[in-house]
Symmetry: C2
Subunit: 208 residues, 2 copies
């Protein structure tokens, strides 16, 4: 490829605001894209897109996400603190645009389910709404939060209590065919990608 | 697609160990794949693959990663605590196999740079080694760590002090052409994906 560009601390300090935001949001590479569903004590549903969902542990099963202190994400936070439940729903190629639209700053009385065209789905085990249009849906109970002190963001951790998915994408050894499900990856705040499996490798041991 | 399968808390409790590990590692969707480079006080280099690097903030610029209390990742942790520096290097399609191989449990005196065939690269600003073969390289100083209490994992946070990348993949508005760079996504512990950009969307506002 072309010449290697060195971006120094001084270069970083001098960056224009939107350039900086785009670059640093993208620098960490591919991320997952999920819709997080919550419900208020009064029964008002909320849906918001997150690109920071991450695996925390398999046994017991935990997932987490980074929550920034913004007005959009505050509805999600208030709801999950009030009833201690939330759902994580994969974003797929056929609904990238309406999923992205949930990031708009709607007032609290507006449900992103309704205004962005998603269907709430409920089970007997959870009060929080799933996204019916999503193929991989995860129900969680709030467990803990960690404050990241440098910029006052929160890592929210939940315990997985339920999973809804199509039988066809679950392999006999517990793998998920994420490409067949059409799940997307995201980089930065606005760029979405389809993924194609290129390798599945064995557990690595020295001397191989 | 096919029938929706409901996996309950009871189903989860009864899962076989490797099936559970595969499923829950994959459930969060696509993740980034990076090689983290460190150096010991005695000058011994270490390199390990991580699938948990995440964006923490843009101004000031922070990135983080989840560190599990395993023997492989302990070398990375010891080194970055000792000299408070580390590098994060994107994994690309042309070196998935040797990057994955760094996850093998080599003894501390073995450098994964050497045994897996990577070239250490140094700049004037950082003592920790970059991976020369990587196209997107990020130099960081250790800032803080948060304990995730439920399973004793750590979220390590670093401040970005330097970036090395090819001019050609950086757009005038600060976006990175990650697909042109050949950066890969990973799901679970062993499945790697190439990505193809399918959408770049505007900042969402109500009423669109």
């Amino acid at each position: 490829m072309t010449t290697e560009k060195h971006i120094t601390t001084a270069d970083i300090a001098g960056m224009e605001r939107f350039y900086r935001q785009a670059l640093f949001n993208m620098l960490s590479g591919f991320k997952s894209a999920h819709l997080i569903g919550t419900i208020s004590p009064e029964g008002a549903t909320n849906l918001a897109i997150f690109n920071s969902v991450l695996h925390i542990g398999a046994n017991p099963p935990y997932m987490g996400f980074i929550l920034r202190p913004t007005s959009v994400e505050r509805h999600t936070y208030n709801n999950l603190k009030a009833n201690r439940q939330f759902t994580i729903n994969h974003v797929h190629q056929d609904f990238i645009q309406p999923a992205h639209q949930t990031s708009a700053k709607y007032p609290a009385e507006v449900s992103e389910f309704e205004v962005c065209g998603f269907t709430p789905q409920y089970t007997n085990h959870l009060r929080a709404p799933y996204v019916q249009e999503s193929r991989i849906k995860i129900g969680l109970e709030y467990v803990e939060e960690s404050l990241i002190q440098v910029n006052s963001t929160l890592l929210i951790v939940g315990k997985i209590v339920e999973i809804l998915l199509p039988e066809a994408i679950l392999t006999p050894d517990g793998h998920l065919r994420l490409d067949e499900a059409g799940s997307v990856a995201v980089a930065g705040l606005d760029t979405y990608y389809a993924a194609r499996q290129v390798a599945q490798l064995d557990y690595a041991r020295p001397g191989q």
